[in-house]
Symmetry: C2
Subunit: 578 residues, 2 copies
């Protein structure tokens, strides 16, 4: 398989090289909104050739370069993914991200040896506008809603305070290290250290999550890591923006600190606001798509993306916006759209998220080789050390503070899982590349970031599974969906909210009860085609029935004949069915 | 609804205008493969501002302009589509394309009145590389395979010979008209007339097909119009390329004519070859995607697109390539992939095709207003007349020739349907815009093309339904899928191929029989995971069973509770399910 992938790579890298001379004459960025209308069809490509006979073959590579190369990269990444899973045993022990980085390193090596420019897919704009949204949408859309809202306090605590803790802790410590003359990094000032620390504070536990899933750790631990990963990206981007602004300043005035804090809230709450708005509008729109089932899923993608872009426009947290949008609309949209649209929405979101992630890890490997590095043993080693140290310390301290407020407190083993799961990933990488050129040690920061990503992904990523199994972290009490448990859960929730009402204490049961009432009385009436509020017990019954039906379908599906698809041929081939 | 759409438009057109001064400084085509890595995050947008406090709000429109505007246009088009279908009665009598052009005209009027540049989405490259592939893939993937192969001779006859007939006929006649001094178009030479005629020979009977479907005309008529629409695009593009090359030549030598004919075959058969190749590779790839269901559909899209792009690269018929690719892989891919992937593939293809088409008609309306026109009564009226005349004549003559070879010959009513269904559409429009600037009367050709599109879409498009119903075209013998009919069909086919073998006559039964044997013995073994060849009767039985199951699902679906989606939440939210 690897030989095959390398083969594809060589083919892939050819177009870059062999057309090196053809590309500069013709700008390729043709997708821009207002290019001059220019004829570039076959024969026109050679208008200045002297009178020749009509050509039987012509070739015009620059014209198709952009979509062609994107398609090839996507295909290459997909092949890699297939390759890993054909040898299923590898991915059990080595996380996919490690394998992708490894393949990327090889491709990078090949490209480096033929003096090839790396593809600039990870330039700041391409990353933030095209590759990040699908990943975040994927996480936001498939977040286990109930578990998330039950642990939202802890999630935000770790995401916001934890990230601040890490950024400031690592930044300060590194600044202290910079004062030691022997390392030769005295020119890095405090602002730059803080900026760098904010970059490497974003944890990206994709690899960890899949391990957690496989060994089925308890739900509390899982959701906290999941939620932290989602929201600390947002916090990191804000911090990064703040610090990179501050890094330009000759001196920091007290008013700037105040404005920074204000901005922090504007960015976070603003993102949530936009997300909520677009989510509600999207839900409302799907009320009317009953006759245009074909384009139904498009609305979901467009509105989420719009939420993201508008947030980017105002430089508020686009990650918060798209996550909030996804969480808001999911419930209503899925009741409005058809079964098929629903499948499509879910599958496309998964697909785009998955391929974006694959590409990013892959490019991370490529760029690691093709970038010029500035190596500084002292600074990089201390970065690794401090990142590890402050993460562990942070989890320890923050857990002590949050534990008294939790129904099920985190024990020591959970805390180990939390702190050891702090892998760094794509966000750090992209932010490092976004660093402005006026930062003196930009090269060093990039090198250090790549080091910490590769170190955490490879060392921690590979070792976390055996460690988790060794220390025997509390496993999940996977709750089966049954009518019985649903009835009891509802009874308990009603009882608890009643008791809370009596003693005048308002916890999340109270708020959930209030929200459900508001939802049934107002939101559902506005946003859902069929307005009747429905008992969650009846809903669950129907859901289980359908689950049964789907399982029958899937049994057929995985058995000998996968003819299933043509089931709907009659309708859909006539164009109107879908 | 219309007021709403206009409202959105005003919002839409604002960004173009209000940022007119901001855009030029910063090039927007940032998707290009190798842009310099540039920091453009929030605060960096104002680096040259003098020392100010940390900004709490920032805004950076040029950075998100491209994806933002694309998203808005797509949303606007989708809204229009919803709008039409909310008032379902409109679309029964007025085809959707008419309504879209009308909305486009309005938006164009608004944009014109605020002196707005039209979006260059219909520049040659954007149209041919991004908007056309989804439409053609849609048609190719959902073509009724059996009916198509049973009528392939007639389809190709009308597509190839019919298009040639129209192009040459209209071109010659217009050249004759050009000799009349009174019209003032004597400067248009024969080559240019032929070039123009090739542009307006592509019929685009999307609107007609939906009418045919609604009144369920007979399958023969339907498939011939469907197939003609698919393949004559390919022929037109080739003719266009040839004539536009010829238009540059001072004189045409005999060798050029010969090379032209050679190129014609290279282009057509080359396209089919690439399509076949990519189709088989795609089928083969899906054998191994069992463990990566999430990205399965991606392969289908990527391979089809690759087939299209590679064909574009070598300037051979990309439409033939993507259609052949779709037809080839459909059968094998749908047996390999999971039920969910299959639904997703079909839905996404439909979705993208549908939205591309919507956008094109919409932009056609916009551009009609915002382009500068050159009006020439004589030339344009005669263009309309000749286009109508030669189409009618062509169908009449070509049917006389093909009828003796057909089992079910076309009667006069069918012929009326065929010739009246010759609406012009997007391809003509895009080709007209691709005309090189050195054509003296480029403006006139564009105006004439737009005229003929609008005339045929509005007049013929609206009147074809009453006419078809009035003359009572032969209706379909819609064959129901039953085990009984399948058994009898197979018996008949086997018998016929046996009889043909005996009398030494090889018609399509013989070839179908041969292909089925080859398919079962070789192709299925290579391309399909489960290698057992299966009786078509057993397959049909299973298909009907599953159809039942799906119907049960859909009944739930359209009934009160559309909770269905959450059916699979448990698996998919854990990330591994899909």
């Amino acid at each position: 398989m690897i030989a095959f992938v390398i083969g594809v790579c060589t083919v892939l890298s050819l177009p870059f090289g062999s057309n090196g001379e053809a590309i500069p004459q013709k700008p390729t960025g043709d997708v821009s909104i207002m290019p001059p209308i220019k004829p570039a069809d076959g024969p026109q490509a050679f208008p200045d050739a002297e009178k020749a006979n009509m050509p039987v073959f012509t070739m015009d590579y620059p014209r198709i370069q952009l979509p062609f190369e994107i398609t090839l990269w996507v295909l290459l990444a997909s092949f890699a993914k297939i390759g890993f899973h054909v040898y299923h045993k590898i991915t059990v022990w080595v996380p996919e991200s490690c394998l992708l980085i490894a393949i990327g390193l090889m491709v990078g090596g090949i490209m480096h040896s033929v003096h090839e420019e790396p593809p600039a897919v990870l330039s700041s704009n391409v990353f933030f506008l095209y590759m990040l949204p699908p990943i975040v949408l994927d996480s936001g859309y498939f977040i286990p809603t109930r578990a998330f809202f039950e642990n939202i306090g802890t999630v935000l605590w770790f995401a916001v305070v934890g990230t601040l803790w890490n950024s400031i802790g690592i930044g300060m410590s590194l600044f202290a290290i910079c004062q030691i003359e022997a390392f030769g990094v005295q020119d890095i000032n405090l602002q730059e250290n803080l900026l760098f620390a904010s970059i490497i504070s974003a944890v990206d536990p994709v690899a960890v999550l899949s391990v957690f899933e496989d060994v089925s750790v308890n739900e509390q631990l899982y959701i906290v890591v999941f939620g932290e990963c989602l929201f600390n990206d947002a916090v990191t981007v804000v911090l990064y923006n703040m610090f990179s602004y501050v890094a330009d300043m000759p001196e920091v005035e007290p008013v700037d600190v105040f404005l920074g804090v204000a901005r922090f809230f504007v960015v976070g709450l603003g993102g949530m606001g936009f997300g909520l708005l677009f989510g509600l509008v999207a839900s409302f729109t799907t009320r009317f798509t009953g006759n245009v089932r074909a384009i139904e899923p498009l609305f979901i993608f467009m509105y989420s993306y719009l939420a993201y872009l508008v947030a980017e426009l105002f430089a508020i947290s686009s990650i918060m916006a798209i996550v909030t949008c996804a969480i808001t609309m999911k419930y209503y949209v899925e009741e409005n759209v058809s079964q098929r649209s629903c499948t499509t929405i879910r599958h496309v979101i998964k697909m785009l998220g998955s391929i974006s992630e694959t590409l990013i890890f892959f490019f991370l490997g490529v760029v690691t080789i093709t970038t010029e590095h500035e190596w500084n043993w002292g600074y990089i080693m201390f970065t690794l050390l401090f990142a590890f140290l402050w993460r562990g310390l942070g989890v320890l301290v923050l857990t002590q503070i949050i534990n008294p407020f939790r129904t099920i407190p985190f024990n020591m083993k959970d805390q180990f899982g939390l702190s050891y799961g702090g892998l760094r990933g794509a966000i750090s990488f992209a932010l490092a590349y976004t660093l402005p050129d006026n930062i003196g040690r930009r090269q060093l920061f990039i090198t250090a970031t790549i080091c910490i990503i590769i170190f955490t992904v490879f060392i921690q990523g590979i070792s976390i599974r055996p460690l988790i199994e060794l220390i025997n972290v509390r496993r999940t009490n996977r709750n089966l969906d049954t009518i019985n448990s649903e009835i009891h859960c509802r009874v308990m929730e009603h009882t608890l909210s009643g008791i809370e009402d009596l003693c005048g204490q308002w916890s999340h049961y109270y708020w959930k009860d209030k929200f459900m009432k508001f939802n049934n009385l107002v939101l559902r009436k506005i946003l859902i085609k069929d307005k009747r509020a429905e008992s969650s017990i009846v809903a669950l019954y129907k859901k289980l029935e359908l689950q049964n039906a789907m399982e029958i379908l899937d049994t057929y599906d995985t058995s000998r004949t996968t003819r299933t698809c043509r089931t709907s041929r009659v309708q859909s081939s006539s164009g109107s069915g879908y």
